[in-house]
Amino acid sequence: MSEARRRASPYIVAALIVAADAYLCIKNPQDLDRLLINAMLALSAFATLHARLLSLASAGFAAIGAYASAILAVKLGLPVYLSIPAAALVCGLVALVIGLPVLRLKDVYLAICTLGFGEIVRVSIILLPGLTGGSTGANLSTGFAYEAMKKTKTWTLALALAFLCYLFWAASRSRAGRALRAIRENSEAAETMGIDVVAYKNMAFLASALIAGLAGAFYAHSVGSLDNGDFKFNRAVDILGYAVLGGSGAWFGPTLGAGFLTALPILLRDLLGSAIGFLKNFAQLPNILNGLALMLVIIFAPGGIAALFARAPVRGAFLSVPPPLAPAAGITDKVGVADKAGVAEAPARRAGAEGKPFLSLKGVSRSFGGVEALAQVSFDLEEGKIYGLIGPNGAGKTTLINLVSGLMPPSSGKIEWLGREIQGRRAHRIARSGIARSYQNIQLFGEMSALENVIVGRHTHMRSGLAAAWLRLPSQKREEAEAREEAMGLLSRLALGSIAGQEASKLSYGDQRRVEIARALAMRPRLLLLDEPAAGMNEIETAALGDFILELQGHGVTILVVEHHMDLIMKICDEIVVLNFGRKIAEGPPQAVARDEAVLEAYLGRA
């Protein structure tokens, strides 16, 4: 379809959904509560799905929240404006307890485990008749009088949802939101940007539980009675439906998904209810059409409604785009920005640890299954030098970089960084301590813009948390602006200013490589690990890259570069380490290494 229509379609879809819901709620205000509560539950599911956690616990938490608030309000006479938040907090506590063990599971395993959780909640409700009214339900016959239960007004519910939406909106444009998107796109790369993935995932689960609890509490006080069937298995599946159909890419997706899936059956009911003849006796027809719609929508928009927006180009992606520059023009343009670009400041941040070896590997080994990828490798790095790491493909170069950057622990041996042993330490902590890396097979956050990718690199140097983002504190805005400016500067330094707003995955190979380097530099590392940075670059670009690396050295950054372009290696490296079949076979200045028999035999391939 035409560009214009592609651009417009998502907005049309959204408009239709909103219109349908508005129509329904004007026609029948009682449905508004239902809509708002479902939207809230959708947000709760979104909180986990967005962080790639396939949790179905929302229904279970909603049940806890509903009963908790009902009991607090009716049995203990708490006013609802206290009982509802209290109920949410109860869910939060439960989430903290089960979160740590449960979040170790991934994908469907997590899904089933959380389903089991929901079932346990349901059964416990039945098993505690004294407290919950058991299977008779929480209603007049068990002491939960309707008047005591039916407390909330719709507007409070609407207010709460609006508030939640604001929180999600504000968070999505904050440091934390960016971190979560990064995790969603590529959690490994995120980890090496200094983002504590586990902590963020626990946070997401906690948020999901709090929101579900809130929704449940509102449900209790909106409906006025409860029973154990209200949040059972198929409810959990419905909620997942909202989030997946809406798309877990952006917060507004699930709310639209809930809007759609709530409106659809009601519309079908009302339309067919007034239909003629046999349809009147065909009570299942609405359900059938409902299922059909569910299938069709997901088949034609597998990424959900939010994905439609993502496909439409980012409007006003960002501020000042410097004039386009031909990559051929090389990298050393706009040097003026260099000092702003943060690279200059790197040397300024020198911690103590003088005298101690900068980085030293001591008998480091790593094996996969039976295959030993790295065997007893030892060497030291001195600060401020450029090191080349060469060897045939599969010699263990990338493995070594993974070990140093903490993506995997060594099987044996020590890695000392600034005098402290870091082997086995988690990647985000190593990254924070000043080690940055690029990847051989590019690991950008594909659906984020080049600029955003680089800003993620600033993560560890930004302070403002969620609270600041929600309060829109000037400090947070300033920080964001600075990060933006600095990232822009770095991009310009690498002749990428013109494509800063483009989606990373759409960039050319060489550009993606440079964005990755910019992202690593944004971390202001003391040690920079480059894994085949020149792969896919032409001679001119490669040469320019060489100059750039030398310039970085000038700024005091220590660099370990893996490369097959021997001329580049020969030109920029102070020292070269040669690996072959997992073993260090040579080490020394370029010329010496180039003459080394073993090296020629193994790598340069003289027979």
Binding site: P392, Y509, G605, A607
Partner: protein, 282 residues
């Protein structure tokens, strides 16, 4: 089609690649590549990482849809075919990183290598008939072999299995083990042996020497030469440019998805610019 008059294309080869283009999102991995592989020869493709070597192979074997251009195999355009159809046609790839089936045993891996054979036997009978009527027609050696076996015994698969085990004794020893438990070298052997089980006319090898100890590398290259001697045409992508060119008849030098140089491998071996870029000053 001026491409027809490019060097190396005068006599139509077993594989004809014309103006091949491969894109991933914004990345143009292969940009209008054309070359030809003559039946019974070894052609080596060398070039830096990211030069588009693997992408070329993936496009030929159909795992990646070509964005443009055509791939003629045995005279028919296979660019639009499904990968499994391409394999049936006799073009088999050993991918980079081997892609062995870790949870299956070595024997099972090899057996599955012969997956397309049931239909193949029928195809061979057709070939046989063809030959009876038109003996002048030139037929690839392995077809003769297959035909011969079809005549002598019905159990071609068992024979090939023993042939592969003869080629790689290590696999025979390990035949009951899970493929995942093999060492890197053994896995590479398995991948090649498995491909041979399909009786390919053309074998695509992507970095067979990757991560192997020097002596193993030598052995692998020896095996490759042997396979060619048995009549299988080979398209070889290698980091280890020197060794690759040694066993190859022709070489293609790729850079940024374009053909930088193309020629007899011994010429390339002493071509200064190639030596400079890929062979290292020796």
């Amino acid at each position: 089609m001026d491409k027809l008059f490019e060097p190396g294309l005068e006599e139509a080869g077993l594989l004809e690649v014309r103006n091949l283009e491969v894109r991933y999102g914004g990345i143009e991995a292969v940009r209008g590549l054309s070359f030809s592989v003559a039946a019974g020869s070894i052609v080596a493709v060398i070039g830096a990482n990211g030069a588009g070597k693997s992408s070329t192979l993936l496009a030929i074997s159909g795992l990646v849809r070509a964005a443009g251009g055509s791939v003629l195999f045995d005279g028919r355009d296979i660019a639009a075919l499904r990968p499994d159809r391409i394999v049936r046609a006799g073009l088999v790839q050993v991918p980079e990183g081997r892609a062995i089936l870790a949870p299956l045993t070595v024997a099972e891996n090899l057996e599955l290598g012969g997956w397309t054979r049931h239909q193949k036997v029928a195809l061979h009978q057709k070939v046989a008939l063809h030959q009876k009527v038109a003996l002048h027609q030139k037929v690839a050696l392995h077809q003769k072999v297959a035909l011969h076996q079809k005549m002598t015994s019905d159990d071609g698969i068992a024979k090939d299995l023993s042939r592969v085990y003869a080629l790689f004794p290590r696999l025979a020893e390990r035949s009951r083990q899970l493929a995942g438990s093999l060492s890197g070298g053994e896995q590479q052997m398995l991948a090649i042996g498995r491909a041979l089980m399909a009786r390919p006319k053309l074998l695509l090898l992507d970095e067979p020497s990757m991560g192997l100890a020097p002596k193993l590398v030598a052995a692998i290259f020896e095996t490759i030469a042997e396979i060619r001697r048995a009549g299988t045409t080979i398209l070889l992508v290698e980091q280890n440019a020197r060794q690759a060119l040694r066993i190859a008849d022709r070489g293609l030098v790729l850079s940024h998805g374009r053909l930088l140089k193309e020629g007899k491998s011994d010429e390339l071996l002493c071509d200064p610019s190639v030596v400079e870029a890929f062979l290292g000053k020796a």
